[in-house]
Every structure is written in structure tokens, then in C-alpha cells.
């Protein structure tokens, strides 16, 4: 049917495939009504819990004591931004691997693997869906916070946050490829992924500034891209010190290249290993 397919033609067809993969993920998602309920309620519930947590700890949305360690009194804004960005981390790290695991359990993975579309195309389709899902939840958190709480997060500087988040996503999906490779090798890695996700949350300034961490842990946090993304976004949203935008863009680009390259190689190794051992579809 397409013996003469060239590299440009193939690239265009792979892009069409990403669109169909996105639609398939969306259709499957819509067929389970509880997911829609979860999506509607989750942003609302999560910002309320952050608000009450702040009120319980410092009795206000701001804190002078917090300024001593974080360089800003805006405690609530600090943790809402951390929480919103962390949604991308957990979705990206676990999203593709979880989706591939689901295909494995459903029995459809071999049908995907035997198709000519690149594995990266399949991952990009899944990542697009997950990324938009995360973006929706994060945006709703910021919107609801601005409407319901005494903070304003829908400021023009939020566009910088979009750019930084976009750059962060590539590095996160590089990590996602690594975990997808681990799914092919070890199958059930949910506990391991949760462990890594919680470790990243503990080591990076999601809910508190780096300055409260022991020096060795704070040093290790410098090797995690989320640290820079949080610092940049908070800086441009007016709650923390910041380097120039160019600095953050370069650092995140470097992480993107390193993590995507490492993640792709690990996935390729795991895929070859699974195909050599006949374990693509085994549970």
C-alpha cells in the first residue's frame, strides 16, 4: 500500500498517528464517568486542602516566619505553585509507563508493538493527553485559587510559567521513558514509581524552600530539573529570588537533552531485552 514511503511522508503520517492516539486516550477516558467526576473535583479539593493546611500552620495566607527561610511572606502562593507544577511531574513520570502497563494487562500491547508507527509516536500521543490533563488541573488550581482565595495567580507573568513548564515537560518525559522501560523489564513498578515520585517531592522545593533541607539533600536537588522550574516560576510570579530567564531556559534545555537521550536509550534497551526474552506481553 505504501512501499514508496519516504522519510518526510513517514514523519507526516506519524504526526497524524499522534492525533489518533490522543483521541483514543480521550475516548477511553470518557467511557468511565468516574474519571470525569474526579477531574472536576480534584483541582477544587486540592487547593482547599492547601489553603486549610496554610491556615492551620500559620493562621494566614502569608507568614513572616516563612520569609526567613523562603525569601517571601507569600506562603500560600508558594505552595499552590509548587503543587500545580508537581502535577506535571507525577503525570509525566508515571503516565506513559502506566499506560503501557495498562495495554499489557488488557492484552493490546503486542498489537501496538507490531504496528509500524514508532514507539516514540505512541508515547507522544499518550504524553499529549497526559500533558493536557495536567495542564487542565494546574490551570484550574490557579484559577480557583484566584477566584476563591485571597491570592491572584492569573497575572501576565504566568506566561513565563507556561514556557518553563513546557521546557520542564521534555525532561520529565525523558524520565517517563526510563520508567516505561522498567515496566517492560519488571512489569509491576507502581510502588517503585511512587517511591521515586515521593523522593522527588521530598528533595525539591515543592512545599518548602531548599534552605530547610539538609545540605547534602539540597545539593542533590540541584540535579533534578523540577528544582529549577519551581525556582524560575516562583521568581517570575513574585515569590522568590530568580536568575535571568535565559539561565533557566538553558539549564532546562540541558536537562531535556540529557534526560530524553538517557530515557530513550534505556527504553530501547528494555524493549530489545523484552523482545529477546519474549516478555512483551507477559504480566
Amino acid at each position: 500500500m505504501y512501499d514508496d514511503i519516504g522519510s518526510w511522508d513517514r514523519a507526516v503520517r506519524e504526526v497524524y498517528a499522534i492525533r489518533y492516539i490522543f483521541h483514543k486516550e480521550l475516548k477511553l477516558w470518557k467511557r468511565y464517568p468516574s474519571r470525569i467526576l474526579f477531574m472536576l473535583l480534584m483541582p477544587f479539593l486540592s487547593i482547599l486542602s492547601l489553603y486549610f493546611q496554610g491556615m492551620g500552620l500559620v493562621g494566614s495566607t502569608t507568614s513572616s516566619a516563612f520569609a526567613d527561610v523562603a525569601g517571601t511572606t507569600e506562603y500560600l502562593v508558594f505552595i499552590i505553585l509548587g503543587s500545580a507544577l508537581f502535577i506535571f511531574v507525577s503525570t509525566a513520570i508515571w503516565g506513559i509507563g502506566n499506560s503501557i502497563r495498562r495495554e499489557q494487562m488488557m492484552g493490546t500491547l503486542e498489537s501496538l508493538w507490531v504496528a509500524p508507527a514508532s514507539k516514540m509516536t505512541i508515547f507522544m500521543g499518550i504524553a499529549l493527553f497526559d500533558g493536557l490533563f495536567s495542564a487542565y488541573v494546574a490551570f484550574m488550581q490557579l484559577l480557583l485559587s484566584s477566584l476563591l482565595l485571597p491570592v491572584n495567580l492569573l497575572v501576565p507573568q504566568a506566561l513565563v510559567a507556561v514556557l518553563i513548564t513546557f521546557l520542564l515537560m521534555f525532561a520529565l518525559y525523558g524520565m517517563g521513558f526510563m520508567f516505561t522501560g522498567l515496566v517492560l523489564i519488571y512489569k509491576e513498578i507502581e510502588d517503585f514509581t511512587n517511591l521515586i515520585t515521593q523522593t522527588i517531592r521530598m528533595m525539591t522545593p515543592v512545599s518548602y524552600p531548599l534552605s530547610v533541607l539538609p545540605a547534602p539533600v539540597a545539593f542533590l536537588a540541584l540535579f533534578i530539573p523540577l528544582t529549577y522550574a519551581l525556582e524560575a516560576i516562583r521568581g517570575y510570579m513574585g515569590v522568590g529570588a530568580t536568575h535571568s530567564l535565559g539561565y533557566y531556559v538553558l539549564v532546562l534545555l540541558a536537562f531535556d537533552v540529557a534526560f530524553i537521550a538517557t530515557g530513550s536509550r534505556l527504553f530501547h534497551y528494555a524493549d530489545t531485552r523484552a523482545r529477546r526474552r519474549g516478555e512483551i506481553a507477559t504480566h
Binding site: M1, D3, Y16, I21, K24, L28, G107, E110, A115, P116
Partner: protein
């Protein structure tokens, strides 16, 4: 086809051994790795437009061969080409050239409709949107699924799910199809119509080369231009069903279902003149005796006499021409229902 010769599939000395439990933890426990030979030095060719069957019991290595040819499994040694493309050197072109159905019922998304499944998979076969619409409509029509196209796959019968899987395998109009146990789990009447669909529509009308695996000898007999018997990973015979059946010297087979089958009695039957070979199998907990002979009429009375004199009841008695299963049993010493 990519290459000049008329072999749509060419396999040379293909081998696969599965190793399990060879990890460091097992070594520390003093447990060694277990090796299972799945495919052992298999060589065969499937000609263009041929419907070729791999016939053998469960675990014989049929599915492993199909998975290697479809790039899902990497062979340990040997080589193979599909539609002229090497499975290791050019897996992308191989995937573009093939359609595959697996024996699992869960190879489709049950929460999507038949049409949604097909549109999705067509995109993974790198069809453009206009091509997707055209091909999906065409395969739905050709396989008689138009009326059910918007129904969720979870509401389909097993047979119609297998039809959707076959439709999916045809989306990219591939020259080569791999069908792994296409009628397993289907009721007899649907199996029959499905076989007709494979033979008449897919193979003869659409001129697809088909390599199918089965452990149903009637299926292989009815469908296949040629058959390879595979047992414990090795090919033990290749030929047309008619040639394979002619390869048995004996012209008739007496099949006796008995209340029991003591060894001495079987040995006495074996010594009857005109009996060349006796096989004892078990089916539904009852011993089944298969007596291979040149002439059933000349030895039938002697056999009945031996059985009844041993106080054993004959539950059923049939004579028949050799089937593919009989050839398989003669060659391997075991049946297909393993």
C-alpha cells in the same frame, strides 16, 4: 513484493530458546536457569499467495515462529525475510508488509467501538486520515461488520471480535497475513464461516499470502495449500494435506473406544496379521485404540475377538481413511490435543 523470488516468507535455520530464572537471586539460591527450546533450527518457505499452515500441539513453537516473523520476538539464530524484508535488518518494512491476529480475545479495546478500534490501529499503520476512512469502510464492508461498526467491542460475540481483529490485520492491505489460531474458542458453525472467509475472501479473492497456526487438523486440512507439522520446536514434515496423508503406508485406521486397554491386549492386537501399528491414546478419560492397517476388513474380526475375550467393552468402533492428525501421530508419537 520487495525481492525478486516468489517466496513471500523465507525462514532459514531459525532458533529460539527461552531462558527463565537465570537471575542473580536464583543463582544465590543455588537455582540454575531453565532453558526451553521453543523453535529449533526451522527452515521453510511460504510462496506468494499461498495459504500455509503450521500444525502442531500447544507449546510446539508455532506462535513463537509467528512472533519472530512479525518482529515481536528476536530469534537467537537463523534468519528470515517477510515480503523480501529481513526481520532483523528492516523491522519497519516488515511491519508495513504484514497483518497479524493473535489468539487472545483481548487484542482490541473493548471500550471502543469496532470502527474506533479500526481507525486507531489504521493510524498506527501510518495511513493518512483520508486513507483511514477509505480502508476502514472497506474492511468493515468486506467482513460484513458494517451494521455493528458503532457497537462497543465488549458487546460483540467472540466470533465477531475475531472478525474485527481480522479486519484490523487487513487495514494496511498487507501482502502477508499471520493468523495465530484464528478459530480458537469459536463455536463450530462460526468457525466454519470464518474459515470460508479466510480461504475465499482473504486468500483467493484478495490474494493474500497467509501463514496460520492451528492445532485443529480439520482446519489445516480444509484451508491450507501446504502444511508443516511442528513438534517440540522442529518441523517434522511439510507438504500438501493430500501428500501428507498419502505418506502413510496404511490405507485405513480402525478407531476403538474401550472401557480399558491393558498392555497385553494391545500387544496381542499388534501381532495380528495386517496390523502394522497400534496407538493408544486417552480422550475424555477413556482409552482410544487406533489400529493402522492396509485392510480393515481382514483384521476386524480378530481384533474384536481379542478385545471381547479380554472382557473389555467396545464403546464405539469406526473405520476411516488417515487424517492429518493420524499422520502427525505416526510421525511424532503424540496427538495434537496436548
Amino acid at each position: 513484493m520487495h525481492s525478486g523470488d516468489d517466496a513471500a516468507i523465507s525462514i532459514t535455520n531459525l532458533s529460539k530458546v527461552f531462558t527463565r530464572g537465570g537471575g542473580a537471586l536464583n543463582r544465590m539460591r543455588g537455582k540454575g536457569a531453565r532453558h526451553t527450546v521453543a523453535v529449533d533450527n526451522v527452515t521453510l518457505e511460504v510462496r506468494e499467495h499461498e495459504l500455509f499452515g503450521l500444525l502442531g500441539p500447544n507449546g510446539a513453537g508455532k506462535t513463537s515462529i509467528i512472533k519472530m516473523l512479525s518482529t515481536l520476538l528476536i530469534p537467537d539464530s537463523g534468519s528470515a525475510t517477510v515480503n523480501g524484508w529481513d526481520i532483523l535488518a528492516d523491522p519497519f518494512r516488515v511491519r508495513m508488509s504484514i497483518g497479524l491476529t493473535l489468539s487472545s480475545e483481548r487484542q482490541l479495546y473493548w471500550k471502543l467501538s469496532a470502527k474506533e478500534n479500526l481507525e486507531y490501529f489504521a493510524s498506527l499503520y501510518l495511513l493518512r486520515p483520508a486513507e483511514i476512512r477509505e480502508r476502514v469502510d472497506m474492511v468493515l464492508h468486506d467482513l460484513g461488520l458494517e451494521e455493528q461498526q458503532d457497537m462497543l467491542v465488549e458487546n460483540f460475540s467472540s466470533g465477531n471480535r475475531q472478525k474485527v481483529a481480522l479486519a484490523r490485520a487487513l487495514l494496511n492491505d498487507p501482502p502477508v497475513l499471520f493468523l495465530d489460531e484464528p478459530t480458537i474458542g469459536l463455536d463450530p458453525s462460526f468457525s466454519q464461516s470464518f474459515r470460508t472467509l479466510i480461504k475465499k475472501t482473504i486468500n483467493e479473492a484478495e490474494k493474500k499470502t497467509i501463514l496460520l497456526t492451528t492445532h485443529y487438523m480439520e482446519e489445516a486440512d480444509q484451508l491450507c495449500d501446504r502444511v508443516a507439522f511442528i513438534d517440540r520446536g522442529s518441523i517434522v514434515a511439510i507438504g500438501t494435506p493430500a501428500d501428507l496423508k498419502r505418506s502413510i503406508d496404511e490405507k485405513e485406521i480402525l478407531t476403538l473406544a474401550l472401557s480399558s486397554a491393558p498392555v497385553e491386549m494391545v500387544q496381542r492386537i499388534q501381532r495380528v496379521e495386517a496390523v502394522s501399528h497400534v496407538e493408544c491414546q486417552e480422550r475424555d478419560g477413556r482409552p482410544i485404540l487406533k489400529v493402522y492397517t492396509d485392510s480393515a476388513s481382514s483384521c476386524m474380526q480378530d481384533i474384536v475377538g481379542i478385545v471381547t475375550s479380554a472382557g473389555i467393552h467396545i464403546l464405539s468402533f469406526t473405520t476411516a481413511k488417515p487424517t492429518l492428525e493420524d499422520v502427525f501421530i505416526k510421525l511424532t508419537g503424540s496427538g495434537l490435543d496436548v
